[in-house]
Amino acid sequence: MRTVQAVAWKEIQIYFSSPTAYIVAMIFLALASFFFVRDLSNPFPQASMSSFFQGATIILILLAPTLTMRLLAEEQKLGTIELLLTSPVRDWEVVLGKYIASLVFLLGTILLTVYFVILLVIFADPDFGPIWSGYLGLILYGAAALSIGLLTSTLTSNQIVAAVVAMGILLVLYFADFAAGTLTGLPATIVNEIGLKSHFDDFDRGVIDTKHIAYYLLLTSFFVFLTIRALESRRWR
């Protein structure tokens, strides 16, 4: 566990010492503010975070992969992976450490948007149910997005490729429920259930359904697991 901690801590420090992460956080907050304000500028505004949550799911498709793209691609580019993998460290410890680092950074960024909630409390009387459930959903959604980015970062030494491929996978998953609309019967159900977005909307409505929590946790563990296997396979290639 000390190794996981060391890897995570090192990556977190690098996040804070590199401009990329600040830029990512800044863009996230700027876009999130835009979505938040857009909803409030209606003639009959609602004191809700829904517009922000909906917007955030799209922003995360672009920003989560930029947080994870460096994590393993750079190690392969610089060759530092050679020293990492010849240290007495298990592959899952490396992967978990890196994943935790990206998750911590994302949580930090999301935490900054609590500012919006404070504004709502000051100027209106929001319903807290959908806000907390929305945040839970957003965190789960972000966690899944990061795990996909981590996998693609393991598969290439090119950070851009890692990010773009992850964005592609995320977009496909995001728009899966659109595709489901063109299908009928069982295939429609399956495609719809795979979709990232269809599981998010209940959280936004204030519904916490274990089905959706299980979906995101499964998706995340699946991709983290694939990442571990992908890293292991480097030894055999």
Partner: protein, 320 residues
């Protein structure tokens, strides 16, 4: 060496083979390294040195073959092996956006050193590698020579039983080369060191024993002194001559420049092995003598030529 009891050996490799696709980087490589020995892998670029080092450190498994390190199998008990090894890869890969001491602390933690040992060892290796003035400098800002020192510092940080150094003196300036060699010699007194180089004088300065590797195969194994002897020493030839042995042999021995000549019969062929003195090329004289005497010259082979060729590809002097 390999035939010895493997229990006494620190590293024991048998039948080591590694393929990159269809291309064999190393093929059927066997060697042993004794505890406390400094073993050098000498060979031209692309001979398979780095591949061997990577297998020894557990970075990648061999396609075939088996290596034990302190009786731990390198594939099956990879974690135990990795705990005992300190490694300096050829390209000295370092995190450029970390400061020297931060990096060393990180590597120490990865090697599961107790925190108080990490602190003590960092200040020790910073002294040993003379990094004192640069302990909080970002690695990315250091010159190649200093990065090399950081690379060595991380390799020896956890006081590994085995030190694997891949081309430890490549790309650094001459003064640093001398310092690095001295450092390796010091380390070699207590630790088992395996290093690779393509510079011939380097092995004679540092190593107890040398393996010469070329095109993925070990072609010679000896102490540096003996190898140097073989390099400049006599040349051996095998000549098949049709003629009465009792006359041919004395005639060959009588030639100027022949150190010794011997004869053996293989399936009716009369083979003569001739040792020439240093630097003598006897092919011309031998053929003239044989033809002149009315015998027939059936074949002539220069032995050890491959070794010679390998040496030619090696850097035999310091490039300053």
């Amino acid at each position: 060496m390999v035939t010895q009891d493997s229990k006494s050996l620190m590293i024991h490799a048998t039948g080591l083979t590694h393929y990159y696709g269809p291309y064999a980087a190393i093929e059927d490589v066997n060697f042993g390294v004794e505890r406390g020995e400094v073993l050098g892998f000498l060979g031209p670029n692309g001979a398979g040195k780095t591949t061997t080092m990577r297998i020894l450190t557990g970075y990648m498994p061999p396609t075939r073959g088996k290596v034990t390190l302190d009786d731990f199998d390198i594939v099956e008990q990879s974690l135990e092996v990795r705990r005992k090894v300190g490694y300096l890869p050829e390209t000295v890969p370092l995190y450029t956006d970390m400061p020297v001491n931060g990096y060393l602390k990180y590597m120490g933690t990865l090697r599961q050193m107790p925190p108080k040992d990490i602190k003590r060892r960092i200040s020790e290796v910073i002294d040993v590698c003379r990094l004192g003035d640069y302990r909080s400098t970002l690695i990315g800002k250091l010159s190649k020579g200093f990065r090399q020192r950081v690379g060595i510092a991380q390799a020896i940080l956890h006081e590994p039983e085995v030190l694997v150094l891949d081309e430890p003196t490549i790309g650094i300036d001459p003064i640093q080369v001398v310092e690095t060699r001295r450092l390796i010699q010091e380390l070699g007194r207590e630790q088992t060191v395996v290093l690779s180089t393509h510079i011939l004088p380097e092995v004679s300065m540092i190593c107890d024993r040398v393996l010469i590797i070329s095109e993925g195969k070990i072609v010679a194994e000896d102490t540096p002194d003996n190898l140097a002897e073989r390099l400049k020493g006599s040349e051996q030839m095998e000549v098949e001559i049709g003629g009465p042995v009792s006359q041919v042999l004395p005639a060959l021995r009588a030639l100027n420049g022949v150190a010794s000549a011997s004869h053996r019969s293989i399936q009716g062929k009369e083979i003569y092995t001739i040792q020439a003195n240093e630097g003598e090329d006897l092919r011309d004289d031998i053929s003239r003598t044989v033809i002149g005497a009315g015998w027939s010259l059936l074949s002539m082979n220069t032995m050890g030529m491959s070794l010679e060729e390998i040496f030619l590809k090696l850097t035999t002097h310091e490039e300053l």
